[in-house]
């Protein structure tokens, strides 16, 4: 069963005075199955961010549909949108977006609290996730006291704690060193293997090579996709590199 269906998505930006029109997405169609780990790749300006914003319901498409578990995103009222996002989606950002005024614990618990969870339930949900992500010892610390990798794991924990249907990750390794990147990608593999659906936007080949499927976007369209199949990370890495080379040197659509 597909958890996310994107069909004929189009997004046109109009400049301020209505003169020029910029087509950010021209025709994007794809689906994500439950439990999948999908990476979306593309160069700057390819429409990745626009796509992610629409999937995150932060932006509305000019035309086309996005269905999350069969429910159309554009059919949700503006007033209910934030609640919908909070209950169904989890976010991981490049810049972590942790609040300095909160301890690691409170940062993770924030979405739950916003959902109106009972104070007594919080600890029970927090502990297993914190342990799985290896930050159980850091809970009392503050974001400025921990490393970048630990911050990003905190952010992942925050995304996971509401049991979202889909995790949307925007360049999650962008601000990390290589060791932290490896750690984080392992974490993603790990939570994915336990059934969590992940959609990651990245332009890091390494990050993408951990996914079960890689979509390539160019000029606002899905240009190509690679399934992992039986390949190892290294093999997938090679395939992605090849595709990227093809992309940049201007190959034809297959």
């Amino acid at each position: 069963m597909s958890i996310l269906e994107v069909s004929n998505l189009q997004k046109v930006y109009t400049t301020r005075f209505g003169g020029n029109k910029v087509q950010a997405l021209s025709n994007v169609t794809f689906t994500v199955e439950k439990g999948e780990y999908v990476a979306i790749m593309g160069e700057s300006g390819s429409g990745k961010t626009t796509l992610l914003n629409i999937l995150a319901a932060l932006d509305r498409p000019t035309s086309g549909k996005v269905l999350l578990e069969g429910k159309e995103l554009s059919g949700i009222k503006e007033s209910e949108m934030a609640t919908f996002r909070r209950e169904n989606l989890g976010f991981v950002f490049q810049e972590f977006n942790l609040l300095d005024t909160f301890s690691i614990r409170d940062n993770i618990l924030l979405p739950l609290v916003l959902n109106g969870a009972k104070p007594s339930e919080l600890e029970g949900k927090l502990q297993p996730i914190a342990e799985r992500l290896g930050i159980a010892d850091l809970l009392a610390k503050y974001p400025y006291e921990v490393s970048g990798g630990q911050k990003q794991r905190t952010a992942v924990a925050r995304a996971l704690i509401t049991d979202p249907k889909l995790i949307l990750a925007d360049e999650p390794t962008g601000a990390l060193d290589s060791k932290s990147t490896d750690d984080l990608l392992r974490v993603f593999r790990d939570i994915n293997s336990q059934g969590q659906t992940i959609l990651m936007v990245t332009h890091s080949t390494k990050a993408a090579s951990h996914a079960s499927r890689v979509l390539f976007i160019r000029d606002g369209e899905v240009f190509h996709q690679i399934y992992r199949g039986d390949s190892t990370n290294e093999q997938l890495y090679q395939k992605i590199s090849d595709t990227l080379t093809l992309l940049t040197t201007g190959g034809e659509k297959r």
Binding site: A82, F93, T101, L109, P119
Partner: protein, 713 residues
């Protein structure tokens, strides 16, 4: 050439940062203007000459000191705020290749532009304001308006010099900061998170102790006379306590809230509590200052308005509840140089015969077209007495006493004859009986406090008899003891009681007390005399007063007395029109000073709030953006912002109101000292002031909150 470039850069910087510079210049303009106005008020000879104007210079001098201190604080506050906001920019210039000396030049230009602007604007608006102030003062003192502009280069130069010096020092301070600036650190420091505030336990304890003590002193201050030192002690303690508690108490309280999981982990509270925690760290001092300034405004305005509004009541109260227009005293004092070894002078009293003194009064009054319509003679004796087991003794009340012995009361003793006339009563007293009445709010039922047989130190004992009618006399309530009127059967009784009481003097006093002899006079032609009777020079020196004094002096000089006797003092000549003008002058000037100082305080408050909003706005923007990304709705975000702002805003106001409520009793006692016993009026004035201040505060809040929302969004 180069200078032109710096000037252009500086000018464009100011324009770009108008959000910071406009309030800075406005505040500077306001301070300069008010300082100039006060300086001129204190030295304008034309004002000194108007009726009641004698009080203006001395009262304004106090104001100048306060404004000067506040100006220094505010100038440095705005300067350091500006510098903090712009350090990045200056660092950037440095990084882009400008030498620090060049950056200094730009800084100097910016300072020069803003300072010159605010000084010119300040002097101009100050001159206009001065004109308005003169009109206002003349209105308040009920005199004809002084016309014409008044401007003296001396005051302009002094004002400009003082403020230019302040801004120059501030600029030099900035230069030192600039010299120490390391641009690399500056650029890197942006990403470093802010540490969580620690609970300062010692400060918390100090705050609780000082505030508690201050409140305690204010609430338990017993007598009006003690209220003066008590009030100042309490003020200092409360100021310290307010700062300490805003700094430490707020953090401790919020942390306590955070510890309470059931409260903290709720949608409404979590973000608000933790944000407030950080906000308090940055703003505790500012908020405490606002609370203190707000309290200051409320106290100043409510008391001065109350005094001013109560002038008529006070005058009425002084002149037999409005039944008399003037009081003269038939008693005179003379000293006899003693021939004994100690060489002590003996002070004696004598009375000028009734027809003589009233004749002299009529003589003076007739010159102004007034004459005595009716009068009332009152012999009385007034003092503080302590009763132990029904035996009385005199108490020497001086400023150094701390507690009065139990059984201390103040009394006015009046013979029956005078009482019946004064109160239009038909009281009958048996021989050896004393009528009594409680005449202040603190007076209880005297028959319960005293045994039925009392003595005044002599052999005669008296019985407490029937309760009399209220005495319409001016009460001295400085001691807050019970205040009673005694009615004794005859004038001789009064004399013997005074004699007896004098015998209880165990060397505490160097003089003997004598009964007063006062004439409460009603006039025909009060209006005429009050208009024609001019002020001669200073304090209470009306022409009629002088004329009467001269007549009495001449009379005393002709008296045949012992050779060594020297008549010392002419008789009292108290008139309602003179008292009214004196009070108008004094309370009017105080009221006016209250308004000017409140203006400065409001400037300070608005400035602190405004700058706080801006600096917080930039800090909070990032935080709220993250919150929205994590899934907080716009509505929730707005609600959170509003809740925080409201708490931060109204905390100082609520604090000020609480301070005022606690200070109320002690201020009331202070007002009693100033002959202002009207409780209801003071309550009304306080209430209205609080409401008015809250309204102005709300306006400031609305205006500055807009800026905040604009930044956060």
């Amino acid at each position: 050439m180069k200078l032109g470039l710096f000037f252009r850069l500086a000018w464009s910087n100011i324009k770009k940062n108008h959000q910071l510079y406009v309030p800075h210049i406005l505040a500077g303009t306001g301070l300069t203007a008010i300082f100039y106005v006060m300086l001129t008020l204190a030295n304008d000879d034309r004002l000194r000459k108007i009726k009641g104007g004698y009080a203006i210079p001395s009262i304004m001098s106090i104001g100048i000191a306060v404004v000067a201190i506040l100006s220094v604080i505010l100038v440095f506050f705005t300067n350091s705020f500006l510098m903090k906001q712009r350090t990045r920019e200056y660092g950037m210039y440095n990084v882009l290749g400008m030498e620090k000396r060049h950056v200094g030049c730009i800084m100097f230009m910016e300072n020069a532009i803003s300072t010159v602007t605010l000084l010119v604007a300040g002097i101009l608006s100050g001159t206009l304001m001065y004109k308005l102030c003169c009109l206002f003062i003349c209105k308040m003192l009920h005199v004809n308006t002084i016309l014409g502009f008044y401007m003296k280069t001396e005051f302009v130069l002094k004002t400009v010099g003082a403020f230019a010096a302040m801004y120059l020092v501030a600029f030099l301070w900035n230069c030192i900061r600039l010299a120490r600036l390391r641009p690399v650190e500056l650029l890197a420091s942006a990403g470093v998170g802010e540490r969580e505030p620690k609970t300062k336990w010692i400060l918390l304890v100090i705050g609780l102790a000082t505030l508690g003590t201050g409140y305690f002193i204010a609430l338990t201050s017993k007598t009006p006379l003690k209220a003066i030192p008590d009030f100042f002690k309490a003020v200092i303690l409360v100021i310290i306590g307010t700062y300490a508690l805003f700094l430490a108490g707020s953090v401790a309280f919020l942390k306590l809230l955070r510890k309470n999981k059931g409260f903290y982990y709720r949608r409404k509270n979590m973000v608000a509590v933790s944000d407030l925690l950080y906000r308090m760290k940055q703003n505790a001092v500012g908020l405490a200052s606002i609370a203190i300034l707000a309290t200051g405004v409320i106290v100043m305005i409510s008391t001065t308005v109350c005094l001013y509004m109560g002038i008529d009541a006070t005058v009425k109260n002084y002149f037999m509840e409005g039944d008399a227009d003037m009081i003269i005293d038939g008693r005179y004092i003379y000293d006899i140089e003693s021939t004994n070894e100690e060489g002590l002078t003996e002070r004696m009293f004598g009375y000028i015969p009734e027809e003589e003194i009233l004749g002299m009064a009529d003589q003076v009054l007739s010159r102004y077209g007034a004459k005595i319509a009716s009068y009332l003679t009152l012999r009385s004796f007034e003092d503080t007495i302590c009763f132990t087991d029904g035996k009385a003794r005199l108490i020497n009340v001086n400023s150094s006493f701390t507690t009065l012995p139990k059984g201390t009361i103040q009394v006015v003793i009046v013979p029956l004859e005078d009482y019946n006339r004064m109160c239009r009563d038909n009281l009958v007293l048996a021989d050896g009986e004393i009528g009594w009445v409680g005449i202040s709010d603190d007076s209880g039922d005297l028959t319960k406090e005293l045994p039925s047989e009392i003595s005044f130190g002599g052999t005669t004992t008296y019985r407490l008899g029937p309760e009399a009618k209220h005495f319409p006399l001016m009460r001295n309530e400085a001691l807050s003891t019970g205040y009673y009127g005694f009615v004794v059967p005859t004038v001789e009784c009064l004399d013997s009681i005074v004699n007896d009481l004098n015998s209880t003097n165990d060397g505490d006093f160097w003089y003997y007390n004598h009964p007063d002899l006062r004439y409460f006079i009603r006039l025909d032609g009060v209006k005429e005399i009050s208009e024609r009777d001019e002020a001669v020079t200073d304090w209470g020196n009306r022409r009629s007063t002088q004329e009467f004094r001269e007549l009495v002096q001449a009379y005393l000089d002709k008296l045949e007395m012992e050779e060594s006797a020297k008549p010392r003092e002419a008789c009292l000549w108290d008139t309602s029109w003179d008292l009214k003008d004196e009070l108008l002058g004094m309370y009017g000037s105080l009221f006016f000073l209250g308004i000017l100082l409140s203006l400065v305080f409001l400037f300070a408050t608005a400035l602190i709030i405004y700058y706080k909003q801006i600096s917080e706005g930039y800090d909070d923007r990032g935080r709220f953006q993250i919150l929205q990304k994590v899934g907080m709705t716009q509505k929730e975000t707005k609600g959170t912002i509003r809740r925080q702002i409201v708490i931060v805003f109204f905390l100082p106001l609520v604090t000020a109101v609480i301070h005022m409520i606690v200070a109320y009793p002690v201020i009331r006692k202070l007002l009693m000292l100033l002959m202002m016993p009207n409780d209801k009026l003071f309550l009304l004035c306080t209430g209205l002031t609080v409401v008015a201040f809250a309204f102005i505060y709300m306006v400031i809040y609305r205006l500055t909150a807009r800026t905040y929302y604009r930044i956060v969004r």
